[in-house]
C-alpha cells in the first residue's frame, strides 16, 4: 500500500503545522511581554490560558505518530539532534512550569514573566535551529550523524531562528488584536506592522538563501519547469502580506491573524517541498522509513475516527472562551 506512508507523512506534517501555529502565538505572546505593562501582560496571558494544554498536545501527537509510523526516522533524527532537542524540551518544561506559577503566585509575577519570556525565546531559537538543519542536511558518515557542517549553529541557522522569533511575534501580536480591545489592541496594531515587514523580508531572504545552502534544493527549485509551479508560493505569500497590510490600516480585527497564519502555511509548504520525499533529510524517504503495514493500518483506523471528533470538541472548547478577553482569568 503505497499511499499509507504518504498519508502518515501528511498527518504528521499537519499536526506539526497546527502545533507551530497554536504554540506559535503562545510563544510569540511570551516574547511580546517585555513591551507590555503589568495589566496588559495579565490580559495577554489570559488570552492564551484556556487552550494552553491543547496547543502542546499537537506536538505530542506529531511525536507519537512519527514514533509509530516512521520508527527508524525517529531513531535516527533524535540522537542526531540530541542536545538541541534536550535544550528545547527542558525549555518547554520550564516554560510550562513558569506559566502555571505565574498564574498562581501573584506576588512574584515580576520574576516569572522574564523567565517565561526567556524560556520561550530559547524554545523558538532551538526550533529555528532544527528547521535550518533539516534544510541544510546532515553528515551521515559519522556516528551519531552530525550536521553537515559539523556545527548545528551556522549563520543560516541563526538567521532562520531569528526569523522564526519574529514570525511567532507576528502570530502573537495579531492574535492579541483579535482577542483584545482598547489600548492593548491599538498597541498591537502598531507593532504588528513592523513584524509583518520583517517577516516578509525574512521569507524572501530565506527562500533565496536555501538553494545555495543545499545543492539538492537548488536542483529542485530550478530544474525543468518546477520553478514555474513553485512561483505560486511567493505570489501567495505576497498576496497574504498585502491583505495583512490593508487589514492593519483599516483596523480589521480578524484578518491580520489569518494573514499571518497564511504566511506561515506558505513558508511551511515551501519547506515540505524542499524535503519531499525524504523524512530523514536527503537520506531516507517516507517509504523507506515506514513501519510495517499492520501498524500503519491500525493507527490510521483510530486516527480517522478520532481526529474529526477531537477537532469538533477542540473547536467547542475554543468557542466556550470565544470573544474578547476582558477580565483576567483566576482560580
Amino acid at each position: 500500500m503505497e499511499l499509507l506512508p504518504l498519508g502518515w507523512a501528511v498527518i504528521i506534517a499537519l499536526s506539526i503545522v497546527i502545533y507551530v501555529i497554536l504554540d506559535g502565538f503562545t510563544l510569540g505572546t511570551a516574547m511580546l511581554l517585555p513591551l507590555l505593562d503589568a495589566d496588559e501582560r495579565d490580559l495577554s496571558m489570559s488570552v492564551i490560558l484556556p487552550t494552553w494544554d491543547g496547543n502542546q498536545t499537537w506536538l505530542v501527537l506529531g511525536g507519537a505518530c512519527l514514533y509509530g509510523a516512521f520508527p527508524s526516522a525517529f531513531s535516527i533524527l533524535l540522537p542526531m539532534l540530541y542536545l538541541p532537542i534536550f535544550v528545547m524540551v527542558i525549555a518547554l518544561l520550564f516554560r510550562g512550569v513558569v506559566f502555571e506559577f505565574r498564574l498562581k503566585d501573584r506576588e512574584h509575577v515580576k520574576y516569572w514573566d522574564p523567565i517565561f519570556t526567556l524560556s520561550s525565546i530559547l524554545v523558538t531559537f532551538v526550533q529555528g535551529t532544527v528547521l535550518a538543519n533539516f534544510v541544510s542536511g546532515f553528515d551521515y558518515t559519522t556516528t551519531p550523524y552530525l550536521s553537515s557542517t559539523g556545527n548545528i549553529f551556522t549563520p543560516f541557522s541563526v538567521f532562520v531562528s531569528f526569523s522564526l522569533m519574529f514570525g511567532y511575534c507576528l502570530l502573537g501580536a495579531t492574535r492579541l488584536i483579535y482577542k483584545t480591545e482598547g489600548a492593548l489592541q491599538e498597541k498591537m496594531f502598531r507593532i504588528s506592522r513592523y513584524f509583518g515587514l520583517i517577516i516578509i523580508a525574512s521569507i524572501a531572504i530565506v527562500s533565496l538563501w536555501t538553494p545555495f545552502i543545499n545543492p539538492a534544493i537548488y536542483t529542485r527549485w530550478f530544474s525543468n519547469t518546477n520553478w514555474l509551479l513553485l512561483m505560486i508560493l511567493p505570489y501567495l505569500s505576497g498576496l497574504a502580506f498585502l491583505v495583512f497590510w490593508y487589514a492593519i490600516r483599516h483596523r480589521e480585527e480578524r484578518l491580520p491573524f489569518l494573514c499571518s497564519v497564511s504566511l506561515f502555511a506558505c513558508a511551511y509548504i515551501g519547506f515540505l517541498i524542499c524535503l519531499y520525499p525524504y523524512i530523514v533529510p536527503f537520506k531516507i524517504t517516507i517509504w523507506e522509513a515506514a513501519a510495517p503495514t499492520a501498524s500503519l493500518y491500525f493507527m490510521m483506523f483510530g486516527t480517522v475516527i478520532m481526529l474529526p471528533i477531537l477537532m469538533i470538541y477542540t473547536a467547542y472548547s475554543y468557542s466556550v472562551f470565544k470573544g474578547k478577553v476582558k477580565n483576567v482569568f483566576t482560580y
Binding site: 490560558l49 484556556p50 487552550t51 494552553w52 494544554d53 491543547g54 502542546q56 498536545t57 506536538l59 505530542v60 501527537l61 511525536g63 507519537a64 505518530c65 514514533y67 509509530g68 509510523a69 520508527p71 527508524s72 525517529f74 531513531s75 535516527i76 533524535l78 540522537p79 539532534l81 540530541y82 542536545l83 532537542i85 534536550f86 535544550v87 524540551v89 527542558i90 518547554l92 518544561l93 520550564f94 516554560r95 510550562g96 512550569v97 502555571e100 506559577f101 498562581k104 503566585d105 513501519a291 510495517p292 499492520a294 501498524s295 491500525f298 493507527m299 483510530g302 478520532m306 481526529l307 477531537l310 470538541y313 477542540t314 467547542y316 472548547s317 466556550v320 472562551f321 482569568f329 482560580y331
Partner: protein
C-alpha cells in the same frame, strides 16, 4: 564505569520517576473532585463546591507539570533509546498515538472548561467536562500501562530482522499482564492522592482551621483508603503469581532466592551479594516465600542461578524496593484499621496522635509507588522487552558527554522545579486554604455520623 547505557538509564529513570508523581496525583485528585462535584450537584451545599475549587487549584498545577514532564520522555525515547524505538516503534507507537488521540486531547479540550469555565457553562455541562477529564486520565493510564506491560509480558508480535512486526494488536494491547498492572496502578494513584488529602486535612484539624472542610475530606479519603488498601494488597498478590508465571527470575530477585527450591523461606532481611551469589545477614521465615508466591507451602520457587549471571537483574535493588513497597502497603492497612476503630468509637477527628500520624504520611503512597516501579522495572533487566530485546541493544549511539550534559541539565531543572517551585506553591495553597463557604452553612454528608461533624 559510566557508559551511555547506564547514564541513559539513570536519566530515564529520573525523568520517569519525576513524571509519574504528577499523573498519579492528577488521576486521584480529578476522581476525588468528580465525586465531590457530583455530591455538590445533588445537594447544592456550597461546602462541596468549595472542596472542588480548592483541590482544583492543586490539580491544575499538578496536571500542568505532568504534561510538560511527559513531553521530555516522549523525546527521550528517540534521543537516548533509538535502538529500542527502531525495534518497538511499530508495536508501541500506535499505542502512544491512541493515547494522544483518545486521552490527551479529551483532557486538554475539557480541562480549560473544568478549571476556568465555572461561570461560562452550566453546572451540568461543567460536571460533564469533569467526567470527561476523568475518562481522559483513566484512558491515558490504560494505554501507557498497556505499553509498559507489553515490555514485561510481550505478546502478539514477533521479531523480524531486529524489528518487531505485529501479528495482532488485540494481543499486544491486552497482553497477559495489562489488566492486573493497570488496576494495580490506578489503585496506587488513588491511594497516593488519598493519603495526601488525609495529611492536608489532618493538618487543618490539628490547627483547628477550616474544620468542616477538613472533616469532610479527611473522613472521605480515609474511608476510600479503607476500601482500597485490602483490594490493592490482593491485586499485589495476584501480580506476584503472574510474575512467577511469566518472569520467574524477577520473583527470584524479589525473594533473593539463589537456588531453585521447594518450600523457600521468606527472607525478611539480607544483603544480597551479586558476585558471590549469596546473601549476608539473612533473617528468614521457613517456607513462607513459597506460600506467598505459589499459595502452597511446598511450592517450587525458581532460583537466580537457573539463568546465567548476565541474565540476572540487580538483586539488592529489586529485593529492597519490593520490601519497601510491601512494608508501606501494610502500614497503610494499619492506618485504615485504626481509622475504623476510631470511627466506631466516634473519636476520628479528635485523636491528636492519629491526626499527627496522618499528617506525616503524606508521601507514603508516592514512595510505595516509586518502590514498586523500581521492583518491576529493575527486575525486568537486563531485558528491555522481556526475553526478546536487551537494554544494551536499545541505547542510542551517542557520546557519553552528551548524556552527562543532559542529565545535569535535568537534575538542575527538575531540582529547582520540584524542590522549590512546586512545594512552595503547594504549601502556599494549603496556607490560604479553601474559600467560598462558611461553617454555619454546614450540611454534613449523609454517610457520616452527623454528631461528629457538629461538635467542635
Amino acid at each position: 564505569m559510566m557508559t551511555t547505557e547506564l547514564l541513559s538509564r539513570i536519566q530515564f529513570g529520573t525523568t520517569i520517576a519525576f513524571h509519574i508523581l504528577f499523573p498519579a496525583f492528577s488521576i486521584g485528585l480529578i476522581t476525588f473532585i468528580g465525586i465531590m462535584e457530583g455530591i455538590w450537584l445533588k445537594t447544592k451545599n456550597p461546602l462541596y463546591r468549595s472542596i472542588c475549587k480548592f483541590w482544583t487549584k492543586i490539580f491544575a498545577l499538578t496536571f500542568g507539570m505532568g504534561v510538560v514532564s511527559g513531553i521530555v520522555m516522549e523525546f527521550e525515547l528517540g534521543t537516548n533509546w533509538s535502538g529500542y524505538t527502531n525495534a518497538v516503534g511499530p508495536v508501541l507507537g500506535p499505542l502512544f498515538t491512541y493515547e494522544v488521540l483518545t486521552a490527551f486531547f479529551i483532557e486538554a479540550g475539557f480541562l480549560g472548561i473544568m478549571i476556568f469555565g465555572w461561570e461560562r457553562v452550566s453546572a451540568k455541562l461543567h460536571y460533564f467536562s469533569t467526567l470527561l477529564v476523568i475518562l481522559g486520565v483513566t484512558l491515558s493510564a490504560f494505554w501507557i500501562n498497556s505499553a509498559n506491560s507489553w515490555m514485561q509480558t510481550p505478546s502478539g508480535a514477533h521479531l523480524e530482522a531486529g524489528k518487531f512486526v505485529v501479528d495482532s494488536f488485540t494481543a499486544v494491547i491486552f497482553n497477559p499482564s495489562v489488566l492486573l498492572r493497570f488496576t494495580h496502578m490506578m489503585l496506587a494513584a488513588y491511594l497516593c492522592t488519598a493519603f495526601t488529602i488525609v495529611a492536608i486535612s489532618a493538618h487543618y484539624l490539628i490547627r483547628k482551621q477550616h474544620e468542616t472542610f477538613a472533616k469532610t475530606c479527611f473522613a472521605f479519603a480515609l474511608m476510600s483508603i479503607t476500601v482500597l488498601i485490602p483490594l490493592q494488597i490482593y491485586l499485589g498478590d495476584e501480580s506476584g503469581l503472574l510474575v512467577l508465571e511469566h518472569q520467574p527470575v524477577k520473583i527470584a530477585a524479589i525473594e533473593a532466592n539463589w537456588d531453585t527450591q521447594k518450600g523457600a523461606p521468606l527472607i525478611l532481611f539480607a544483603l544480597p551479594n551479586q558476585q558471590q551469589e549469596t546473601n549476608r545477614w539473612q533473617i528468614s521465615i521457613p517456607k513462607l516465600a513459597s506460600l506467598i508466591n505459589t499459595h502452597s507451602f511446598d511450592g517450587e520457587l525458581p532460583g537466580l542461578k537457573s539463568v546465567p549471571p548476565s541474565d540476572r537483574p540487580n538483586v539488592a535493588v529489586v529485593f529492597w524496593s519490593f520490601r519497601i513497597m510491601v512494608g508501606l502497603g501494610f502500614l497503610m492497612l494499619f492506618v485504615a484499621i485504626i481509622h475504623l476503630v476510631l470511627r466506631l468509637r466516634g473519636r476520628l477527628f479528635d485523636s491528636q496522635w492519629y491526626l499527627k500520624l496522618c499528617r506525616q504520611l503524606a508521601p507514603i503512597g508516592f514512595i510505595a509507588m516509586i518502590s514498586g516501579w523500581l521492583t518491576t522495572e529493575v527486575g525486568r533487566q537486563p531485558w528491555i522487552v522481556h526475553g526478546l530485546m536487551r537494554t544494551a541493544d536499545a541505547v542510542s549511539p551517542i557520546p557519553v558527554l552528551h548524556v552527562i550534559i543532559s542529565l545535569i541539565l535535568i537534575l538542575i531543572v527538575y531540582g529547582i522545579i520540584f524542590g522549590i517551585f512546586y512545594f512552595l506553591y503547594l504549601f502556599k495553597t494549603i496556607r490560604t486554604g479553601p474559600t467560598g463557604y462558611s461553617d454555619d452553612q454546614l450540611q454534613p454528608f449523609a454517610y457520616m455520623d452527623t454528631h461528629q461533624l457538629g461538635e467542635k
